[in-house]
């Protein structure tokens, strides 16, 4: 069997494992959707903020951002879980396998991507039913973008997780990375109408481009040209992947 086939089978094996585990834990699939639904139905409808897009309600305006939020939280949490794996020894089995660390990283990222896209798909269906009309074409396009965004976020989570030693850091990452990424990303407001500092922070945030791209797909409205959004997301994905592969190369068993 050629080396390439072995690496390919390994990616498939890792992916298969993540998929099996993911779909066996049905409670978690639902639990992940609770906070985005609160954002959509309590804040989106209750707060009923101002929507910058004519003919689009505030709830509809934040929907693409909340969709990205589900992906952000699911995928980054998944990635950080590798700290836990390191301590529990499940990872040892995979680390000792005759596959390159790049393959392992790819397999894990795809695994995280799969879980996040599944959540995004459920939320898309909920959105299509209760929030805004979505044709199959738009859902397909949104899913395609979700794949990319999910991979990016899982890669970021894994790269950070691979370098962290204790689960205590988990909360810090959530407070100092995930939430700021979400809030600065313009999921809840219009970047055009915000101050220069907020805008600067937003443009440094990879999540901004994900939200903007998703908004273009679902609402036909975006702050930046969609091609620029796509290019930014692709560039971030390439950078996160490179960083992740290096982090995984340095990965050692911790006790």
């Amino acid at each position: 069997m050629s080396l390439l086939t072995i690496e390919f089978n390994a990616v498939y094996a890792i992916l298969l494992r993540e998929a099996k585990i993911y779909f066996r834990e049905k409670e978690r699939i639902i639990a992940v959707l609770v906070s985005p639904l609160l954002f959509l139905f309590v804040m989106g409808r209750g707060l009923a903020g101002h929507s910058p897009v004519p003919g689009v309600s505030y709830q509809q305006f934040i929907f693409p951002g909340i969709l990205c939020m589900v992906i952000l939280f699911t995928a980054i949490t998944y990635g950080l879980y590798i700290i836990w794996d390191k301590r529990l020894d499940f990872l040892k089995e995979v680390l000792a396998a005759p596959i390159s660390r790049a393959t392992l990283f790819l397999g894990k990222s795809l695994g995280g991507m799969l879980g996040a896209v599944a959540e995004a798909f459920i939320l898309l269906l909920i959105g299509a039913a209760f929030i805004l009309p979505l044709g199959p074409l738009r859902i397909a396009a949104a899913l395609a973008a979700s794949l990319l965004v999910s991979f990016l976020m899982a890669a970021i989570g894994l790269a950070i997780g691979a370098r962290m030693k204790s689960m205590e850091g988990f909360g810090l990452v959530m407070s100092f990375l995930t939430w700021p990424m979400f809030f600065f990303g313009g999921a809840l407001f219009d970047l055009n109408q915000s101050g220069p500092w907020l805008r600067l922070a937003a443009y440094l945030d990879p999540f901004t481009y994900c939200v903007d791209l998703m908004r273009h797909i679902l609402l036909g409205w975006s702050v930046l040209p969609p091609a620029l959004d796509l290019a930014a997301v692709l560039a971030c994905t390439a950078a996160a992947t490179a960083w992740g592969v290096v982090s995984f190369g340095a990965l050692q068993q911790t006790r």
Binding site: M1, I6, N9, A10, Y12, A13, I14, L16, R17, K20, I21, R24, E25, L88, D89, F90, K92, E93, V94, L95, A96, A97, P98, I99, S100, Q252, Q253
Partner: protein, 325 residues
């Protein structure tokens, strides 16, 4: 494999964690096809040594060749030739036994067509056929252990590392694991490096035994050689007497006080027993026995292996609680 047919070779292999030197300049050569036991208490550095050889931990200094490949610069090549059974449970709880074996086979490059057949054979070998489709979560500690062993063997590695393979197992399961290991050596001719803190295990399984303590190899040889080095039988006295009482007797090679007993090392003890007993004013208990690896350990490290068993036993507690379930 390299020309001199050594499966494992280490050169001053060292690993420190901050101030703690877990493995301290170990030089070892394990020829192909040998069963080699690392015997030592918890915290002696056995697991760290094995983790380095499996490329899971990078050495602080020194180097090693496994299957002829450098563990630092050719980690991937090393991993293609080895199998590992970990000390801590590392089978995937959330999958079934069969799924664990199937994913492992894919990860380790077993050709797709061969996977189902091999899984059936391994499941039968470790007696898990009827529980194969249950989640590992529901397995007992012994069953997990057996599944781990099946997993370590399914890709037929040339070199197998077993880290405390029978830790936390009941005696029956332990014997079953031993017979698998013996069978593996006979049938496949695999090189096996195992760590243990059970004397019987090293004695029973290994071609050669290394006594490891505080990161260093204190003594190395066949179990018989090591026992001969102790130099005789052991006489344990519970009596009102100190080591100085036997100073004049040249057949007493060593006299050591241990708690409330006195241990004498005496070649051909049956010939000298009367002379020994004559020196004791009163005797509560006498025991004469053959040298065990326990005695070897005591001689070369200055303490008993069981002294430290209570120390770092979180894994034993885990294994114990898994067993109890």
């Amino acid at each position: 494999m390299n020309e001199d047919r050594a499966a494992i070779q280490t050169f001053g292999l060292t690993k420190s964690f901050g101030a703690l030197v877990a493995v301290d300049g170990i030089d070892l050569t394990v020829p192909e096809g040998e069963v080699f036991a690392l015997l030592g208490p918890n915290g002696a550095g056995k697991t760290t040594l094995i983790s380095m050889l499996c490329t899971l931990v990078k050495p602080t200094s020194g180097s090693a060749l496994v299957a002829g490949h450098d563990i630092v610069s050719a980690g991937l090549e090393v991993r293609r030739h080895i199998g590992i059974v970990f000390q801590e449970p590392s089978v995937d709880d959330l999958l079934t036994g069969r799924e664990n074996l199937s994913l492992h086979s894919m990860l380790y490059g077993v050709p797709r067509r061969e996977i189902p057949g091999r899984i059936e054979r391994m499941l039968a070998a470790v007696g898990l056929t009827d529980r194969a489709d249950d989640l590992v979560r529901t397995y007992s500690g012994g069953m997990r252990r057996r599944l781990e062993i099946a997993r370590g063997l399914i890709h037929e590695p040339r070199i197998l590392f077993l880290d405390e393979p029978t830790l936390g197992l009941d005696p029956a399961s332990r014997r079953a694991v031993w017979s698998h290991i013996r069978d593996l050596k006979k049938r496949v001719g695999a090189t096996i490096m195992l760590t243990t803190h059970y004397m019987e295990e090293a004695d029973d399984l290994a071609d050669r035994v290394a006594i490891i303590d505080r990161g260093r190899i204190r003594e190395l040889g066949t179990a018989d050689e090591l026992k001969r080095k102790v130099g005789g039988d052991i006489v344990v006295l519970k009596a009102d007497v100190g080591p100085e009482a036997f100073a004049g007797l040249d057949f007493v090679k060593e006299a050591l006080r241990q708690d409330d007993t006195l241990r004498l090392t005496v070649p051909d003890a049956h010939l000298h027993l009367k002379a020994i007993l004559d020196r004791c004013p009163s005797i509560a208990e006498v025991q004469v026995r053959r040298v065990t690896l326990d005695d070897v350990f005591l001689k070369f490290t200055g303490h008993q292996i069981r002294d430290e068993e209570g120390r770092d036993t979180i894994f034993e507690r885990i294994a114990g609680s898994l067993n109890a379930r």
